[in-house]
Amino acid sequence: MKGLIAKGSIRRRLVLQLGAVAAILSIAFFLVVQVVADRAAQDTQDNIIAAAATAIADALYADRDRVTLELPYSAFSMLGSISQDRVFYRVVERGQTLTGYDDLPISRKGISENTRRFASFTYRGEMVRAVTVVRSVSLRDERRAVTVTVAQTQRGRAVISSRITATATAIAAVFFMVATGLSFWAAQAALRPINRVARSVARRGPNDLRLVVGETPTELVPLVGALNSFIARLRVSLLRSEEFIADAAHRVRTPLATVRAQAELTHRRLNKPEHKKAIREMIRAIDESSRSAGQLLDHAMVTFRTDSLEKTPVDLVGLLAETCDRLAPTAELKDIEILRELPEDPFEIPGDPVLIQSALRNILDNAIKYSPDDSQITVRAFEDDGFWLQVRDQGRGFGDADLGKLSQRFSRGANVADIVGSGLGLTIADEVAGAHFGRLVISKNKKGAGACVSLVFAQP
């Protein structure tokens, strides 16, 4: 479609945006889990070293004139059973190291009895987590504050963290993949109603100007509403122009009849052959004009009746015979014989008899018009994957014209410049066929020259 530039796809945008959301959520999940895991691992380690430090503090006692300590085995074996981490400790009283590692940093700032203080620092070439607790020991009526520090390397914590991180990575990756798959599906599902409306509109025939009805998602109601109001306006405008044409044709036809009558009177009164010839030409032109006006009226009627098609059972064979009868006088004028090859049994379909007859009349009329004098027109009705109503003449045929375009309005064959015609006849036939879910088949006469036009209706 010209002028309509497809730019960007809603589905792609939906998928990308949902995918981006999923990616952000996955990353956020990963980071949160990692932080939480790290915190949990840290808390676990903190609790264990604090328990060890408390156990050591509990083992402090006053022995004669000094503070001493019996290091509990459980304090360290506990640390050793959980991870293979290095352990350092230091017990300080009044700035003097009672036991442990003399160079282990100790921070007593802001620390009081029954509180504990955690710190992370590098000691002996490795990052350690340390806890410091203070315990008072009474020595000869004097309270001595003793500081106990326990430090542990963080290998066990790193192992826990990396294990949880690996799990979190796997979960985040799976989450991302599942979410991306679901977003594909969601985009597809969200766009399904749009596709449905688009398909139902695209499926329509060229003359189908019914309003779009049926279930429509809320978001599409404005679009479908606008489309419907556009269709309504279009219908009104089309109807108006058809009415105008019909009105105009009608108004032209009546004066034309008067002019024709006057011309015939004059023809009779004139004697000179050249004058008579001129008047005959005139009468022929008037006939063609009134025929065109008639076709315009037909066309307007077809358009109108198709729009609000009322279907009754129609016998196609009978209708074809009737049309032949009606046009027989016209054919006789040119000494044309209409050969009928009609079956005995009727073909019945639901349809509008007025329309179908109009279509048949136009086809047969065309055949008569383009047939040479003293020739034959064969009219057949037969069944071959549908009901075929076929009119075959021995005229000039359609020459090199594009057969597909002949049914378009005001389109005429390339070889008919010398014969007056509106180009509406096949258009009418085609529109009638379309309104009955049938088709117009135009082909060259297989047996010598001439045209072969068929109306094909589906069997009900």
Binding site: Y73, F76, V87
Partner: protein
């Protein structure tokens, strides 16, 4: 490597070098095993006798002909001093003092190493990929055959205590044990006993009351039991006793059924390592000794064997890890020795 050529020229298999480089730690013996072909050197400081280790070194050299082995023997405390205090340059430290080895690793004096061979060790036999166990040696009771010819040998500590109480006159001065003040291994066994066995202090009190003589080493205790001077010796290193059995008559070995501490002989690679590749190969060689029954027999060192421990639930390998640091604590050690002296030295 002038030393290597010098040794090769002398054709000496083992050599105690008089002109030893100046060092503060005390060396008992030093042996040099020249390379079969090549000039690499692997320097080992160890507490294990040359008798026990020579077959292992020879087998190692058969696989690594380019490596000469410089084998220095020192007591466990001197090994500790060499590495911890003096930073002496060695490629491997082999010691029966699990506590000191653990302290070396804990305080950052050991390097980590992993290989397919070290992976085969059970979890309890390895610490931080730095301390590798390669033997399991139980603390046993060595009893005199002559002494126990008529009465039954006690199978657990309760029977032992009852026997000592009942027959105190008979056992006076005839029960031997480690002097834990001088013997690192004796201290390790004693502290583990105190931790695991309710009756340890009672037993110590009893031995003190019996004026039991104190020994520095397993070999002396075995000698005195064999000669009949002692009725039995408590907490003797089982591997030594087993290796003396063929040549020394008059004693046999009893593994107590209530609880038996199992010492793990360990190897670690100190930070002063120079020949890492040779050290790695020696570690791999040691931890897979189970696959070489000939070496086990020749060295008398029972390899790490989880199945053997599973079969005897009384056997408890001493746990590697920070728990071993507790009894190295200055105050803890003072306190323990004070208790021990009060129990065993009764005047």
């Amino acid at each position: 490597m002038c030393i290597s050529r010098f040794c090769a020229a002398l054709g000496a298999v083992a050599l105690i070098l008089a002109a030893f480089p100046v060092s503060a730690f005390e060396v008992e013996e030093r042996h040099f095993f020249p390379a079969i072909a090549g000039d690499e050197v692997l320097r080992i400081i160890s507490t294990a006798d040359e008798d026990a280790f020579e077959p292992i070194i020879r087998a190692y050299q058969a696989q690594n002909p380019a490596v000469a082995v410089d084998y220095t023997i020192a007591s466990s405390t001197e090994v500790m001093r060499a590495i911890y205090d003096e930073g002496a340059a060695f490629d491997l430290v082999i010691s029966s003092a699990m506590d000191l080895q653990t302290k070396l690793a804990n305080d950052g004096f050991a390097l980590a190493y992993t290989s397919a061979q070290t992976e085969t060790l059970p979890d309890w036999a390895i610490w931080r990929d730095q301390v590798f166990s390669f033997t399991q040696e139980p603390a046993v009771l060595v009893v005199s055959e002559a002494f126990f010819a008529e009465i039954g040998v006690p199978k657990n500590r309760r029977d032992l205590i009852n026997l000592l109480r009942r027959e105190s006159a008979w056992f006076k001065g005839r029960v031997g044990t480690y002097d834990v003040r001088t013997s690192g291994l004796g201290y390790l066994f004693a502290t583990q006993d105190s931790r695991n066995i309710e009756s340890y202090w009672r037993l110590t009190e009893l031995m003190g009351g019996l004026k039991s003589p104190l020994y520095c080493c397993s070999s002396d205790m075995i000698r005195d039991v064999a000669s009949g001077k002692l009725a039995f010796a408590y907490n003797v290193l089982g591997s030594y006793a087993a290796s003396r059995l063929p040549e020394t008559k008059g004693f046999h070995i009893v593994e107590l059924e209530d609880f038996t501490s199992v010492m793990l002989r360990t190897v670690l690679m100190p930070v002063s390592v120079e020949n890492q590749s040779a050290a790695h190969r020696m570690i791999d060689f040691l931890v897979t000794m189970k696959d070489r029954p000939d070496l086990v027999a020749a060295s008398g060192l029972p390899p790490v064997d989880e199945a053997a421990l599973d079969a005897n639930t009384a056997m408890r390998p001493i746990r590697l890890g920070p728990g071993l640091l507790v009894f190295l604590d200055r105050l803890k050690r003072d306190r323990f020795l004070e208790n021990w002296e009060n129990s065993i030295v009764q005047d």
